[in-house]
Assembly symmetry: C2
Homo-oligomer: 248 residues x 2
């Protein structure tokens, strides 16, 4: 088999945040596989390049399709947003490999890193991720809500900065409010909370709040929420977490 499969991320949105390495992989591909809106971000480069757009929420089917194409000798690129290894397609591809055709294990499979949403969101606001931090997806499509609660509690208790991916969707409008209520029981009401919508795109919008005043309805599918640690602070129009916990 001479086919290959590379999983890439387009970055948060703007073309200037996609790495040249990812651009080069996209240019060489015979087939692009991905969620339609992510494929739409990629300008057509070659007339002979085939695009296989699919709906969201069919990650495993999409991964299997991509692996089948690679096994048939194609140079396949699976396209995610952000970084492909963070709540995105790379994991689905390896899951498909584990449970699929044993021949898939001999394929040339690679992952290209990218700029994940929380990094773009943090950069828009200052440096809120300046200390130890964690990333939690609030989607309970694939895990139990009790697991999410356990992780939120642990992150609050140990004073991590918390980046919340997938804070809300039409099918899940209440999770973020529940998460913020849980955090309010552990953390100070003055903790900075950032709602960054469409980070790393031309339409970026930052709403800065505190845990006491944060309104969960501000968030939608395109929002990344960052909840500060006890040391996270506001200076001018910026929010940052000092490198040191030994504040002067």
């Amino acid at each position: 088999m001479s086919g290959s499969l590379t999983v890439v991320g387009t970055g948060p949105g703007k073309a200037e945040l996609m790495t040249p390495a990812t651009r080069a992989v996209l240019d060489r591909a015979s087939d692009l596989v991905g969620y339609g809106p992510y494929l739409d971000r990629i300008p057509a480069t070659r007339a002979d390049q085939q695009r296989h757009a699919s709906d969201n929420r069919v990650e495993l089917d999409r991964a299997r399709h991509a692996l089948s194409l690679a096994a048939a000798g194609r140079q396949v690129v699976v396209v995610s947003g952000g970084d492909p290894g963070v709540f995105a397609m790379a994991s689905a591809v390896f899951e498909a490999v584990e449970h699929g055709d044993p021949a898939w294990r001999t394929l040339d499979i690679r992952v290209e890193p990218g700029v994940t949403a929380m990094l773009a969101a943090a950069a828009e606001a200052g440096a809120p991720l300046g200390g130890d931090f964690c990333a939690i997806s609030l989607s309970d499509n694939l895990k139990n809500w009790s697991t999410i609660e356990r992780r939120l509690n642990a992150a609050a208790d140990a004073d991590f900065v918390i980046a919340l991916y997938n804070p809300a969707s039409k099918a899940r409008p209440h999770q973020l409010g529940m998460a913020l209520d849980l955090l309010r029981q552990v953390k100070s009401g003055t903790t900075p909370v950032l709602f960054v919508r469409a980070a790393g795109t031309a339409e970026t919008k930052v709403v800065a709040a505190t845990l006491a005043t944060a309104d969960a309805s501000v968030a939608d599918m395109r929002t990344l929420v960052i909840v500060g640690a006890s040391t996270t602070r506001t200076v001018g129009r910026w929010v940052y977490t000092p490198r040191s916990e030994r504040l002067t």
Copy 2:
């Protein structure tokens, strides 16, 4: 004041992992300020561009120097490795702003996101960050070791994947061994552990181990260590964390 200050990250090392947005900011700068080895990664573009290289471990002095240059009307870029907001210079810049000349608050200060080391390290190994994860710096130069222990315990208890930055240096040879011993008390010995040296460079090396067999002396300053969650698994030559905790 018409000066500006932008904090950028070069990415993990390879030029192809630096974003075009960061490249454009570097091209426009009148002054580059940073740790010498990071500045050395940037090819000279303009004869009139000044470079201010400094030693490591003087982040706050470097930030103040950059702010002074910007206040004098220069177009300054502060250069970090990786992403500038993750254990890097962005936080030091805002710390300097908070405690420095009030006029600095009126400066045009921006942060450009980049590819942080854990994303490049994860991509080299598969998709180990595929679930909820946290990032902890093992350096106790700026925080107490007890804080690090508390966060390691919380991350293990709540079953996060754990990315360990700054696992070891000549001045701190014992931290990683202590951290792994702590994790061994909570997590299964079969948990995958990855030592990824020089991720995202031409010299990348991945050592895959388990928590039972992991040898802390494998790590040095250029190593990123990833400790899996209970669901993290090995398939072929890859390590990945499934999106779902409901394993089939």
